[in-house]
């Protein structure tokens, strides 16, 4: 038998998935609390023991892992104009599976340098200027970065005319530097792949070690990528297919968590009607956004504050007093699960509905009507996702909900917000066994099998 073990070191749980490559089946899944503060192997062994209890002891030919433990991959991105190179840098970091903890534009100030030092990023992405374009700002920013004492690697992906000069400035200050192609070689042209790849290389070689995750390196082939990057990979390959195995076509996925919510769209997002003028940066075909303020546990108070407690009552079906008292409960114990108390499940449902609606709204493009002397004109910014027919839901609050379909409805077009180009009509699929990140890992070596397993395992609701 050819068995593969896939491991996801999450911030809360370490999840393991065993796959039989020959029969293309999932043998079993299990999870245990992540132990990144002590020895990360502890949590992994607990999860493996649980798995063994379910499916018996088996041998694995290979083991792969992804990780978002110990804070994930934290990045600071720097560019010139917020809507141009800064945005391109942000898109690059997000597609590499990073958590963007700082975004800076134009010339960095000394105060901002202090801020970056305090943020302690794992990697800094320095961009600015199209090839042959602005040189001064990226040179200035390299000097400022060089003056920061903390030890972070810098990926330089800006104006090629000064790239080596920028690298020199940083190297002479003792920084580890990688130079790659510009994220915006020409005005409004995205080129995120080379920088994304470089970020991943650094993650493999350096970040794993820095986070004390090397202990597990001995027993597995390696931690291949940050978890969000594995999910993006899975969703992308499910959409496009591989080899003889056809994909599902354009799709979206939403991953609701306790603190953050990720939205993925695999689609060119071009206008679905004629006579539309597109403004702004072109959108990546495989796009990931992450909302750091939208989650059902750690971000619950913020959501209640923003959406209003009335809205939460309406979405959850709880009374005002119940919402208040259960908010207190999850505040004191964010790990509490709905099976302990049905009303926790109701509050999770209410919050998840609001979270999904808002996260998708921020991910999706908008269309505006403009009246000109020549008549009515439509202007589109961002992706038109009205034609998406398949949406995948994952993350504890969706998977464990009794009404995942209710939560997923928030993805759809809302006539009260007709300018938001959400999918008009879509089928919902639930990642019941929590396998998306595992399938992203599996697709590194067995892409066709990963596609087939996902097509079989994702459950339509």
């Amino acid at each position: 038998m050819d068995n593969v073990l896939l491991i996801d070191f999450g911030s809360t749980y370490t999840k393991v998935t065993a796959v039989d490559i020959n029969s293309e089946r999932i043998l079993g899944t299990a999870r245990a609390c992540t132990t990144s503060k002590t020895d990360i192997n502890e949590g992994l062994n607990n999860a493996l023991a649980d798995l063994e209890g379910n499916i018996g002891k088996i041998e694995y030919n290979s083991k792969f892992a992804c990780s978002s433990a110990a804070g994930g991959l934290k990045m600071v991105v720097i560019g010139i104009v917020p809507e141009l190179t800064v945005e391109a840098a942000k898109l690059t970091a997000l597609s590499a599976g990073a958590k963007v903890i700082g975004v800076y534009s134009y010339e960095l100030t000394d105060d901002e340098a202090n801020e970056i030092a305090n943020l302690k990023p794992d990697i800094v992405l320095l961009t600015g200027g199209t090839d042959g374009g602005n040189k001064n700002i990226i040179l200035h920013n390299a000097e400022i970065l060089a003056s920061i004492e903390s030890d972070f690697p810098v990926v330089v992906a800006g104006n090629k005319s000064v790239a080596s000069k920028v690298a020199e400035i940083l190297k002479s200050a003792g920084k580890e530097v990688r130079v790659c192609q510009n994220v915006m070689p020409e005005f409004n042209k995205l080129n995120i792949e080379p920088a994304r790849q470089t970020i991943r290389d650094i993650f493999l070689q350096r970040i794993i070690r820095a986070k004390g995750l090397t202990k597990v390196q001995n027993i597995i082939e390696g931690i291949l990528m940050p978890t969000p990057s594995a999910v993006l990979k899975a969703v992308q390959i499910l959409s496009t297919g591989y080899g003889t195995e056809k994909g599902l076509g354009d799709l979206m996925a939403i991953d609701v968590g306790g603190a953050t919510t990720d939205v993925y769209s695999i689609s060119d997002g071009l206008p679905s009607r004629s006579g539309v003028i597109i403004k702004g940066l072109p959108e990546p075909f495989a796009k990931r956004t992450v909302e750091g303020d939208l989650g059902v546990r750690y971000s619950a108070d913020f959501i209640v504050e923003e959406a209003g407690v009335k809205m939460v009552c309406q979405a959850s079906g709880l009374t005002l007093e119940e919402v208040q008292s259960y908010l207190n409960k999850i505040r004191s114990n964010p790990g509490i699960l709905p099976n302990d108390d049905n009303k926790i499940g109701m509050l999770d449902l209410g919050l998840a509905k609001i979270v999904v609606k808002e996260a998708v709204k921020r991910h999706t493009g908008v269309i505006e009507t403009s009246y000109t002397p020549m008549g009515k004109i439509f202007i589109q910014k961002g992706k038109d996702l009205t034609g998406i027919r398949k949406v995948i839901g994952t993350g504890g609050p969706v998977i464990n909900s009794l009404y995942p379909g209710e939560i997923m409805k928030g993805v759809l077009f809302d006539e009260r917000e007709p300018e938001i180009l959400r999918p008009i009509n879509a089928d919902f699929f639930i990642d019941r066994k929590y396998i998306l990140s595992a399938m992203g890992l599996l697709s590194e070596k067995y892409p066709e099998i990963a596609v087939r397993i996902m097509k079989r395992e994702l459950e339509m609701v």
């Binding site: 010139i80 104009v81 005005f187 003028i277 009246y371 020549m374 004109i377």
Partner: protein, 137 residues
């Protein structure tokens, strides 16, 4: 010679795109590095593009007669954004009705444009003037 970078586009709510495409083609053929923003371009878009690409000049087109109101304050905003050295050019049907071109030219030069091209200016003339002004030859 280092090729000069031009940012061009049709300003305001104007969607005349044919001339815009022709001019882009002609300028590229003449050896310029052209950043074409297309139609319905706001003042801010010209400025942001010019910063990122380190442009030498901004070329504004307007065909629908509202150029004066669309261009108001563009020079000042460029200066504010650190683009003092970027020259501004404009051409097209800049005003409504039959005003003598001399007056139109005066008006736009006062607004900070270094050259004002009347309707029907052939691309060769614009290219010749740009090369001379930007020292590209």
């Amino acid at each position: 010679m280092k090729s000069k970078t031009l940012v061009m586009g049709v300003i305001g709510a104007d969607i005349h795109s044919v001339g815009n495409k022709i001019l882009e083609y002609a300028l590229k053929q003449a050896g310029f590095n052209v950043v074409n923003l297309g139609v319905m371009v706001s003042q801010e878009e010209y400025i942001k593009a010019a910063i990122e690409t380190d442009a030498d000049a901004i070329l504004v087109s307007s065909l629908y007669g509202h150029a004066e109101i669309d261009c108001r304050g563009l020079r000042e905003k460029c200066d504010e954004a650190g683009l003092e050295k970027v020259s501004l050019y404009i051409g097209g049907n800049l005003v409504v009705g039959k005003q003598p071109f001399k007056e139109v030219e005066e008006k736009f030069k006062k607004m900070g444009f270094c050259r004002v091209c009347p309707p029907g200016t052939p691309p060769e003339v614009a290219i010749r003037d740009l090369k001379k002004d930007l020292g590209a030859e």
